[in-house]
């Protein structure tokens, strides 16, 4: 996983994720260039999004670990109709559902590529895009 977070936070009009008590560790790790997941100690399921209870079994204890940082594109769209002026400046942009090697499915933009190069089933690596004083997991074709 590469780390692209600059030391000074750039201003942004793009929406920042609002961390909460259950996700603060995830976003702290993201700022350090790590994709943090949690494996349930009761049933071994990998929980995402980060929350105190396991969606699979309801267990409330888990072990955090850093994901390998690879995944596969399950599906995607080339989005032309942006929800805000800030996104309009990026349009058209790719939004994809990425299945991580560890199991969880995340939504990410596929960045640094031509939209027509993206296909279902492609392997991606997770990179981090600086946004405000945070960092967002994003996908890059490998």
């Amino acid at each position: 996983m590469s780390r692209e977070t600059p030391t000074t936070a750039p201003a942004t009009d793009l929406p920042l994720p609002p961390p909460n008590a259950e996700s603060q560790a995830f976003w702290d790790a993201a700022r350090d260039g790590h994709l943090l997941l949690t494996r349930c100690t009761a049933c071994d399921a990998v929980q995402f999004p980060p929350q105190h209870s396991c969606t699979a079994c309801g267990g409330t204890t888990g072990n955090p670990f850093t994901a390998s940082g690879t995944g596969e594109i399950f599906t995607f769209t080339i989005n032309h109709r942006a929800p805000s002026p800030a996104f309009k400046a990026r349009a058209p942009y790719i939004i994809a559902l990425v299945d991580l090697a560890e199991g969880p499915r995340l939504m990410m933009n596929v960045i640094n590529c031509a939209p027509e190069d993206v296909k279902i089933g492609m392997t991606v690596k997770i990179v981090f895009e600086a946004r405000g004083d945070m960092a967002l997991p994003q996908a890059e074709l490998v």
Binding site: P19, S23, F48, R81, P83, P92
Partner: protein, 384 residues
Amino acid sequence: MTSSKAAITGVANTRCGRLEGSTCLGLHAEVARGAVADAGLELGDVDGLICAYSFTEPHPMLASVVAEYLGIQPAYSACVSAGGASGALQVMTAKSLVESGMCRHVLCLTGDTRMSGMAPGAAVAALARFGHGQFEVPYGITIPAAYGMVAQRYMHDTGLTLSDMAHIAVTTRNHARRHPDAQMRKPLSHAEVMASRPIAEPLRLFDCALISDGAAGILVSAAPTGNGAEVRIVGAGQKNTHEHLIAAPRDLQSFGCKFSARDAFAEAGMTTADIDVAEIYDSFTITLAIELESIGFFPKGSVGEAVSDGALDLGGTLPCNTHGGLLSFGHSGAAGGAFHVVEAVRQLRGQADSRQVANASRAFVHGDGGVLSAHVSLILERLS
């Protein structure tokens, strides 16, 4: 034959489109009076009120606000909020309220002024907030983009094509052209759909629902009021599998419609073969394609060919969205899905004028909220 099932005794809708000078509450009142009058009753007869939600009147107790505006004090009032499934879910909830004996006449109201009451683009921006705040919204998600991802995968897995989806848009427009209240009544060709600008690829402009002002009212009663044909709600079912796309069924195919429809058909003692007319949620062409196949009206992978052969036309094997659906009649928030109920009742009563399906006695209605998240199926039958 006497039925213990709830009846739909009154329906009303406003025109769809830009209704200058209208307000959200004013539209609610218009269809409230219209639905009650359609049943031959007065507002004072209503002892239950169910509303949904509104972008332009974002009060969390909308049912209380509407009752106050109407000047009524029903014994029961509540909001039912399940996005596009709200209209069908209101009817399902009202059904149980009257069948349990708690209420006699439950008025289900939906409406919004998303066109004249909001700045351009504001409805799209508000809808984007349906996404997960931390794990979807920062990526620029919109409702069309979410359905675009669903469409991309469904086309990959089943062979559905852009041309197939264009046929759905055209068929639906042809129906809307026969409805005086529809927002879009101009002819629409297959070539125009194919050439329309991309919104969230693979979805194009004419694959997407409209944004409209409009409202719908549906009166659910314990027994027919003697005003018109007897229409009973003989089956209802609901299934929600997720809210956000990241948590949807992993195959993006096993959506709740399959299960809500199964339960509705089981209650009615019917199968898909018994249905004369279907009014099915069509926020996008892909939405209708997936629901038609998942519910079992067409085998998986076959809906495209069926639609291009005219299966959804008035004289087809399954006349569908005969009012023009969300794609061409109108989509004013929760009322969007309620229009499907209104149209089903008109078809069963034989009041659909030039878009009437001959001898329609059994209708299937389906609502879907979120990103194929919340599903409600209804089966309506004319008993006299």
